[in-house]
């Protein structure tokens, strides 16, 4: 049995969360349907997150950030995602893609990139997935060839969130083909204005439609060796340690989506009259709503406990990250599906937000490791200590 962790939100965390929630309700929610319909990256929301210092949350104070812990960042992602999952993802990706620089970067690398990232002047994306390397990150084919003081990158990345809007991309590539699997990867920061870098296809997606998912093409992209994060061969380890802090971010997105759907469905049920009374007075509808509330709250509490455990340097961070994403992703899918059920036919049309939320929820079961990969991580941890 892993050690029990508890948390208690501080006054400061509550104040920051409430400030983000106000912004989400008043400024971001009204844009959500349009962002989904047009599938255009919401630059206005991005600027808003930057101007309100929300993008600064995960960065150290010495680089202009707020030095917030994982729990606080997740509170913000949750609040944003309850209004617009695409916008919640802006913060989640900004945090996760910056992690290799924040945690493994040298002082020079941090000073070079973090101030603009904290200020939201530059955006960053995280490129590990390839067409042939999804869940199996060890089978990455992209090459990084050392050439004097440079590396030359060749290959392609697929399904890269924000790949087409980012100024920087954190890339994982094979630097030593002779090395063993999991020891052959290195991590690089690539400025997207480098010659040889281009955007391939943009995916047409089921959900989080405002968030651009791009194919990135690297055709002899030359970067200085000083753009390598960590040691040669450390790439896989860096990627895996990133997941400890990025999966809770996606769990937070999932909890936010679920909360948004729950609130809308409950409000609707009180107003929608059938058989002469609001459907909220029908016990079968109440049961749906109660289960939705319970699932959302359970996922939220697990997420917060996981964040507290990871923030405290718990040795089993990978398990905490996996269990909270597993539970929250499934909760979001179930809760949003039930929200559509509460609205009936009106839930199935785009005039109401719950069908969007249901489409958005699905991605939380897929990215940052599928639910199956989360189970793999949890089972490995369980069996290792049994």
């Amino acid at each position: 049995m892993a050690e029990q962790r508890s948390y208690r939100l501080s006054t400061e965390q509550i104040e920051l969360r409430d400030a983000v929630a106000t912004l989400a309700r008043e400024r971001i929610a009204p844009r959500a349907a349009e962002v989904d319909r047009t599938a255009e990256f919401p630059w206005d929301n991005t600027k808003l997150l930057a101007s309100q210092d929300i993008l600064a949350l995960p960065f150290p104070e010495e680089y202009g950030g707020l030095g917030a812990d994982l729990l606080t960042v997740c509170l913000a992602i949750e609040a944003l995602s309850s209004a617009c999952a695409t916008t919640g993802l802006i913060l989640a990706v900004h945090e996760l893609a910056s992690l290799p620089i924040v945690t493994k970067g040298t002082k020079e690398q941090r000073a070079q990139w973090l101030p603009d990232l904290a200020a939201g002047k530059s955006l960053i994306s995280f490129a590990i997935t390839e067409s042939g390397a999804g869940s199996d990150a060890g089978s990455i084919a992209m090459r990084a060839t050392r050439d004097g003081d440079d590396y030359v990158l060749d290959g392609a990345k697929r399904f890269i969130t924000h790949g087409s809007v980012a100024d920087l991309v954190v890339v994982f590539a094979v630097s030593d083909p002779a090395a063993k699997r999991h020891r052959n990867l290195s991590c690089f920061v690539v400025e997207t204005n480098r010659p040889g870098f281009s955007i391939g296809r943009l995916e047409h997606k089921m959900g989080i439609r405002g968030s651009p998912t791009a194919e990135l093409l690297f055709d002899g992209v030359r970067i200085p060796a000083t753009n390598r994060i960590g040691a040669e061969g450390e790439g896989f380890a860096i990627a895996m340690s990133t997941f400890e802090r990025s999966r809770p971010g996606i769990a937070a997105q999932a909890v936010g989506i679920a909360q948004g759907a729950l609130e809308f469905a409950a409000r609707y049920a009180k107003e929608r009259v059938q058989f002469g009374k609001p459907i909220a007075e029908q016990q079968m509808v109440q049961a749906l709503l109660a289960d939705m509330d319970a699932s959302t709250e359970a996922a939220r509490q697990l997420l917060y406990a996981a964040c507290a455990a990871i923030d405290s340097g718990d040795g089993d961070g990978a398990r905490w990250a996996a269990v909270c994403k597993l539970v929250a992703g499934d909760a979001a899918m179930r809760v949003t599906t039930d929200a559509v059920q509460v609205l009936g036919g009106y839930g199935y049309i785009e005039d109401f937000p719950v069908e969007r939320m249901m489409r958005d929820a699905k991605i939380t079961q897929l990215y940052e490791g599928t639910q199956q990969i989360q189970r793999l991580v949890v089972a490995r941890s369980l069996l290792a200590r049994s």
Binding site: E12, E15, L16, A19, V20, T22, L23, R27, S51, Q52, D53, I54, A56, L57, L66, Y268, E271, R272, Y346, I349, D351
Partner: protein, 260 residues
């Protein structure tokens, strides 16, 4: 540019306001927020100081001792410090006492401009700012849609029924803000963090030179003798559904009553 903004913590109007046994608003247990009209005054003050490139914005409030938490929200928007006049003897004060106390507090502060909101969402008297101007002999420029200060003067566009009047006065002066000055900003997260360490001075009546005249509930010149709930309105009908269907339903409703 030194600006004092008068702010009042008021019960959050999104909740249920209740009346106490004295028929006044029961503030106990109701979350307080900064009076919305005061936020417009604060926004205007912050813009003026930012445009001037120097100066500071001081908040001045007369409120119960629990008010600092509410004032922090206004400090998070960017005000530099706050002065809270709080004293048990001020319980039950009417607008006359409020005028005298705030005027006495202003005598202790240095400023070029005093900005106030048009009225408050709880009491709604709308006379405190004018009373302070009279008490301190300050020029009173009300219903400002635009404020343009110079070295020793201020020009204000005062909203009128047909447009605006252009007023000009020497500094210091008191200006009453309107919503035409621009939407209050959202506090940034750094603003919220910074507000936690900003100074909130707490003054009691002993810190003010009010003379011997009594203040507070004991000397109110007004009393609430009776209250009435507003007449109940017929149930509001909310039309929901796809825009086309909903619009047709609204049109049919209005047509049925020969309103269109």
């Amino acid at each position: 540019m030194r600006i004092v903004v008068l702010v009042k913590p008021v019960p959050d109007t999104t909740g249920q306001e209740r009346l106490g046994p004295d028929l006044r608003v029961d503030r106990v247990g109701v979350p307080a927020v900064v009076n919305a009209n005061d936020e417009y005054a604060l926004e205007a003050a912050l813009k003026l100081v930012e445009a001037a490139g120097e100066g500071e914005v001081t908040l001045l409030a007369m409120a119960p001792a629990g008010a600092p938490e509410t004032l922090r929200k206004a400090l998070a928007m960017g005000a530099h410090r706050a002065v809270l006049v709080t004293d048990p003897a001020l319980g039950g004060s009417d607008t006359l006492t409020t005028v005298r106390v705030l005027a006495a507090a202003l005598r202790r502060l240095e400023y070029d401009l005093v900005l106030a909101g048009a009225d408050t969402s709880d009491g709604g008297g709308g006379v405190v700012a004018a009373g302070i101007a009279v008490t301190l002999g300050l020029p009173y420029l009300s219903y400002a849609a635009k404020i343009e200060p110079s070295a020793d003067r201020v020009v204000v566009h005062r909203l009128s029924a047909v447009g605006y009047d252009q007023l000009e006065a020497g500094l210091p002066a008191l200006v009453v803000a309107t919503q035409a000055l621009g939407e209050p900003r959202y506090p940034s997260l750094k603003g919220i963090m910074a507000a936690r360490s900003k100074e909130i001075l707490s003054w009691s009546l002993a810190d003010l030179e009010l003379g011997d005249a009594p203040v507070g509930g004991a000397v109110t010149t007004t009393a609430v003798v009776e209250t009435h709930a507003p007449p109940a309105r017929a149930a509001t009908r909310v039309v929901r559904g796809p825009a086309g269907e909903a619009a047709a339903e609204v049109v049919a409703f209005l047509a049925e009553r020969r309103l269109i």
